[in-house]
C-alpha cells in the first residue's frame, strides 16, 4: 500500500470539510473493499478520511412506512436487527449473506452503496425496494443513483449518511454465489408493494445492477414463481467472465427470481 495522510473526523461536516481541502481524498467506511484495493495498489489516495469515529452514522430505525439505516451500520447489525427482521426480512436476510462473519463485522451498507460493486448485494435491494440514498447534500432515488460499474451519482466529497427503504408488502432475495468470494454471480431481489413489482439483478449486468422488466411484468400479472415458468432473460448486456458466461447468467436470473419469489415474505 502506498502511504497516505490519515484523517479521522468526528462529524460529517468535518469530514466534508477535510475532503473539500485535501487533494485526492477517499472516504474509508468499513474498508472491506477499499483496503484490499489499496493493498493491491489499484487505489492510492493521498488522503484517507476514516468515517468510523462519527457516532451518529450507525443505527436502524423504523420511521412510519420506511426503515432508515445509517450509512455506517455494519452488515452484522443489519442482519441481526429485530426491527428490520420484522419490517423487511429480505433485507436482513441479504445482509446475512454478504461475505463471511468477520467481513460482516466490518463492512457497512453505506460503503457498499458508495462503492457500487457490480456483484455487491445491497444495490439490488436498494433498486428493487425503491430506496432513497440520503447524503450530506441531498436525497437521491435509487433509480438515479446507480450509474455504472463502480459508478454512482455521488459527487466529489459527497457522503452517504443514511438509506431509507420503503417497507414492501413482500420481498425476497436469492443469490448464486461465487463459492470463494461469496459475491453474487447472479443475485435477484424481488419486491412487491401494492400492485407494483420490482425486480433488481446484481452480479449479472455488464454495467452493474439493473431491473429485469420481463420478470417484473410476469410477476405483476401474478406474484408467484409459477408466473416465471418459461420466462427467458436475454443474454445481451450481461457479463461474461471466468465464473460464468452471459447465457448462463441469463438462465440464472430466472432461477434466482423464482427462488426469491418463493422466499418472499
Amino acid at each position: 500500500m502506498y502511504p497516505f495522510t490519515y484523517h479521522q473526523p468526528d462529524s460529517v461536516r468535518q469530514a466534508a470539510s477535510v475532503a473539500g481541502k485535501a487533494e485526492d481524498a477517499k472516504f474509508l467506511a468499513g474498508g472491506m473493499t477499499l483496503l484490499p484495493t489499496m493493498k493491491q495498489r489499484l487505489a492510492s489516495p493521498a488522503n484517507l478520511i476514516d468515517l468510523s469515529k462519527i457516532g451518529d452514522l450507525a443505527g436502524i430505525e423504523v420511521k412510519g412506512r420506511s426503515v432508515v439505516i445509517g450509512a455506517m451500520t455494519r452488515h452484522f447489525d443489519v442482519a441481526n436487527s429485530k426491527e428490520l427482521q420484522a419490517a423487511i426480512p429480505a433485507l436482513a436476510d441479504l445482509a446475512g449473506m454478504i461475505g463471511d462473519p468477520a467481513v460482516r463485522n466490518r463492512g457497512t451498507i453505506g460503503g457498499s452503496l458508495a462503492n457500487n460493486d457490480p456483484a455487491a448485494d445491497y444495490p439490488a435491494a436498494a433498486l428493487a425496494l425503491g430506496a432513497t440514498i440520503i447524503t450530506n447534500k441531498r436525497k437521491i432515488e435509487a433509480e438515479d443513483y446507480f450509474t455504472g460499474l463502480f459508478e454512482t451519482a455521488l459527487e466529489e466529497g459527497e457522503i452517504i449518511t443514511k438509506v431509507s427503504f420503503p417497507i414492501p408488502a413482500k420481498a425476497g432475495y436469492e443469490k448464486f454465489r461465487n463459492p470463494a468470494s461469496r459475491y453474487a454471480i447472479v443475485g435477484v431481489f424481488v419486491a412487491k408493494r401494492g400492485s407494483d413489482v420490482r425486480v433488481a439483478v446484481t452480479g449479472a449486468g455488464a454495467s452493474g445492477v439493473f431491473r429485469a422488466t420481463k420478470i417484473e411484468a410476469a410477476l405483476t400479472a401474478k406474484f408467484s414463481s409459477k408466473s416465471l415458468e418459461g420466462v427467458k432473460m436475454p443474454a445481451e448486456g450481461l457479463n461474461t467472465d471466468i465464473h460464468a458466461d452471459a447465457e448462463y447468467r441469463a438462465h440464472l436470473i430466472t432461477v434466482m427470481a423464482k427462488r426469491a419469489t418463493d422466499k418472499a415474505k
Binding site: 502511504p3 490519515y6 479521522q8 474498508g31 472491506m32 484490499p36 489499496m38 461475505g99 463471511d100 462473519p101
Partner: protein
C-alpha cells in the same frame, strides 16, 4: 508517525506506526505477537482473525491507526494461567489441524461462533459460520468436530 495505543490481551500497548500499518502487522511486528498469521492477505482465508471489541475481524484488512483504544484479543490471549482455552484444548483433542497454519484464525473464529450462537451448535451451522476460514490442508472434518466439542466445553 501517529502513536497507536490499544489494549491487546488485557495489556495496554502502544507503538509509533505509519498510518498504512495493518492491524496484523502491528500485532506481529510491533508487538511480536506472531500467532496471528497472514495467509492470503486478501481477506478471504481467515488466518489473521482476531477479536476487536468482542467481534471477529480480519486483521489483514483493518488499519491499526483506526483502532485507537480498541480492545483486541489474539490467539495468545486465550490460554489462562498456563491452561489452554477449552476451544484450543478441543482442537488438540480432536486433531483439528494438519499443518497448523490456519489454526489460530480457526480458533478465534470458533470462539466467536460460540459467543454468538451458544454452546449447542449443529454441524451445519458450524460449517456455514466457518465460511471465512480456509484450511489448505482441507482438514475441515476434524476442525468442525473440534468446534462442536469446544463449544460444549465452553458451555460448561
Amino acid at each position: 508517525m501517529p502513536v497507536v495505543s490499544m489494549t491487546v490481551n488485557g495489556k495496554a500497548v502502544s507503538a509509533d506506526v505509519d498510518p498504512r500499518t495493518l492491524l496484523v502487522h502491528y500485532l506481529r511486528e510491533n508487538l511480536r505477537l506472531t500467532g496471528t498469521h497472514v495467509g492470503c492477505d486478501t481477506s478471504q482465508c481467515g488466518a489473521c482473525v482476531v477479536m476487536v471489541n468482542g467481534a471477529s475481524i480480519k486483521s489483514c484488512t483493518a488499519l491499526a491507526v483506526g483502532l485507537q483504544g480498541a480492545d483486541v484479543t489474539t490467539i495468545e490471549g486465550l490460554a489462562k494461567d498456563g491452561k489452554l482455552h477449552p476451544m484450543q484444548e478441543a482442537f488438540r483433542e480432536n486433531h483439528g489441524l494438519q499443518c497448523g497454519f490456519c489454526t489460530p484464525g480457526m480458533i478465534m473464529s470458533a470462539v466467536d461462533i460460540v459467543n454468538r450462537n451458544g454452546s449447542k451448535i449443529d454441524e451445519k451451522t458450524i460449517r456455514e459460520e466457518l465460511e471465512g476460514n480456509i484450511c489448505r490442508c482441507t482438514g475441515y472434518h476434524n476442525i468442525v468436530k473440534a468446534i462442536a466439542a469446544g463449544a460444549e466445553a465452553m458451555g460448561g
